[in-house]
Symmetry: C2
Subunit: 410 residues, 2 copies
């Protein structure tokens, strides 16, 4: 399977992305394009670059793991955007680019003189894509946002947490990566139309707006019950067919649980489960035989299942419940996922060989193209591709690049 790696990388061969993004919402979007083979050129401040390089516990002089993860397979060019020549070079690169992406604070790109109206004049065929916290026309359109602000304002937190507890922010960075994925879809749609026509397009996404895409089902719940969707711990707020939820396993650590789900669509799930836990008599007992009846006895049923799950560790419980034909999943943590050898053999986890930051095992793009996910290439060092890109995109020679360096432009 490993031999097929790189199949995906050909998808966007020849597509040039000028990437003025930083932190996560923007970089996650351009990284998806890089996984599929686009030439993504990060434009970074010569002094330190993307602030994500030095954040999140980065060791002095090293890039953070966070940065490495979000910038795999990209190139880096340094340009001083406070220098007129730096801005001029962005425009020259934009003339050669197919896609331009930025996620600066509201108004910043326009203040730099690199707004859509300017770039479109230079390159009418460009796809110009922007991420902001709040949409144009929102009362908060000038406000800053970060992942957690989007998760609060976009409804995600209101449907995450214990039933009677406060809202929880999921560990998944939906405000950032969740937004980036949706913008990548629209960029790719625009690229498809553009191929052969050179039709440019402006794309804008707001992190708050993007959150609604991930909780659409909660809006269906709201329509059904006539009031806001709420929280239900590990269970389904919309009810579901008990048993459904996490059940404690030995030895009782913070993630020693197995998720068991018996589907409404398949009454056999409950019958199989009753048999598995050695309580065959329950399968046809009228108190438990139907989903509606089990709703009335949910706590009691959960306890009966827990008696069984507590005798097993979560891996064994998942194997036994799954093998009995009932949907089941152990609650796995990041350490367990990293240690699982099948992720590595399948190419879902790959190891970045990064100069200075050593080998770093990380999740790769999870879609298999003709049998394997795309191959991981290291995140770039700051300015690593100055010569490469300024030469191949703009035709600048070694002396010209040396001059830019001497003048503090790159």
């Amino acid at each position: 399977m490993v031999d097929a790696r790189g199949a995906a990388a050909g998808c966007l061969a020849g597509v040039r992305v000028l990437d003025l993004t930083q932190f996560e919402a923007g970089p996650s979007c351009t990284e998806a394009l890089a996984w599929l083979g686009a030439e993504v050129v990060k434009v970074e401040n010569p002094k330190g670059g993307d602030p994500g390089r030095g954040s999140f516990g980065a060791a002095p002089g090293r890039d953070s793991w966070y940065f490495l993860q979000l910038n795999a397979n990209k190139k880096s060019v340094t340009l001083n955007l406070k220098s007129p020549r730096g801005i001029e070079l962005v425009k020259e690169l934009a003339r050669k680019a197919d896609v331009f992406v930025e996620n600066f604070a509201p108004g910043a790109i326009e203040r730099l003189g690199l707004g859509y109206d300017v770039i479109r004049e230079i390159n009418p065929g460009i796809i110009y894509a922007q991420v902001k916290g709040f949409g144009a026309g929102s009362p908060f359109e000038d406000n800053l946002a970060f992942d957690m602000i989007a998760q609060a304002c976009g409804g995600i937190m209101s449907v995450s947490g214990e039933r009677d507890g406060p809202p929880v922010k999921p560990g998944a960075t939906l405000g950032d990566t969740g937004t980036g994925m949706l913008l990548a879809i629209s960029i790719l749609g625009a690229l498809y139309r553009r191929k052969g026509t050179d039709q440019g397009e402006r794309l804008e996404i707001a992190m708050q707006d993007a959150m609604l895409q991930y909780i659409r089902v909660c809006f269906a719940t709201q329509a059904m019950i006539g009031k806001p969707a709420g929280r239900a711990g590990a269970k389904l707020f919309s009810g579901g067919n008990p048993p459904c939820g996490i059940y404690p396993c030995k030895p009782g650590g913070p993630n020693d649980y197995v998720y068991i789900y018996t589907s409404r669509a398949n009454p056999a799930h409950w019958q199989r489960l009753a048999q598995l836990i050695g309580r065959e008599e329950l399968a046809h007992d009228p108190r438990y035989a139907t989903g509606a009846a089990r709703v009335e006895h949910e706590a009691e049923i959960d306890e009966m299942i827990s008696v069984w799950t507590r005798q097993h560790d979560k891996h064994e419980a998942m194997r036994l419940v799954g093998a009995a034909g009932i949907p089941a999943g152990a609650v796995l943590d990041t350490g367990e996922l990293l240690a699982d050898p099948t992720f590595e053999t399948r190419g879902i986890m790959q190891t970045m060989q990064h100069p200075g930051c050593g080998p770093f095992k990380m999740p790769a793009w999870p879609v298999r193209h003709n049998g394997a996910p795309p191959a991981l290439k290291p995140a770039p060092l700051l300015g690593e591709h100055n010569d490469d890109v300024l030469s191949s995109w703009l035709g600048l020679g070694a002396d010209a690049v040396k001059g830019l360096r001497k003048d503090g432009v790159i």
Copy 2:
């Protein structure tokens, strides 16, 4: 802005998607393609169709809100896959399709005689895309999965919940829609390459694997601290720069909180906040002046801020904190989001005019293409496009279609 609606719809004009998906992971993927203008034809069982139609509290004889949301802008054709002629028609449609997508249980599509090897023979240029719960090569590759199983096994739940509480399943359906978005990206990449070359491709995604994409930052945390990333309620597990989290607002309902975040990258956030809450003296007090010092006094600081936030409702608190230049967001629920008029004027929420299910307001595709999100068209009635598609794709006349109906094939 509303005038521009439909700009996106042109992106994938002429792209034909043969859609054998049901419930959410598959349908969310093909819906993204439909928003961008692909002709997505759902192939459904003549008896009831996509099981999502009748689930999730659907009124008798009506489609569920859940189904409407996940199938906007698509067409529906009924085909009985238990009849040889039904299978034959799927193959004839596949011959005319650009993309084929399915998310049946493991092994089911092959048992139907519609596996990749078969379809590739018929149409070597097709993009054949599959969603499964677990990847080929995983010990669980034959297991069923649902959204919550993927969230358990893919690490999402291990990083969601209160610090000392059990894992929580976020209300966002990452296992389903989160997976569908990543597959859509790969399909679009493959479509881009195929345009002009007719190069086919097989794509596969596992819901468990897809989850890693959304918690990559937690793997960075694991690399940083050398142990699994954990849970932190509404705060950041990786620490962060206190104050950071949700603060209670009046009148004290379950979602009456405002998220306040003071960035590590900008010390002014804390100084502005101290001033806003009338405690200017704290801004330069050594006990609170730096992020590191505030980590030591987090509970105390949270209480000082809460004294202020409790005097305001969450909307007012968000306005005041945001206007002071500090990232802030009210925790909004599905009811508040539905009622916000700016979502409607901006086209982020649109109303489906569905025959039988009345007007239904729902989130639309959140990316603005040339100023507006794409326009919403209703989800199809079961078999609504039998004549249309069998005629336009296969050239069948009215009599032939009538015969298929009489024979129980459609």
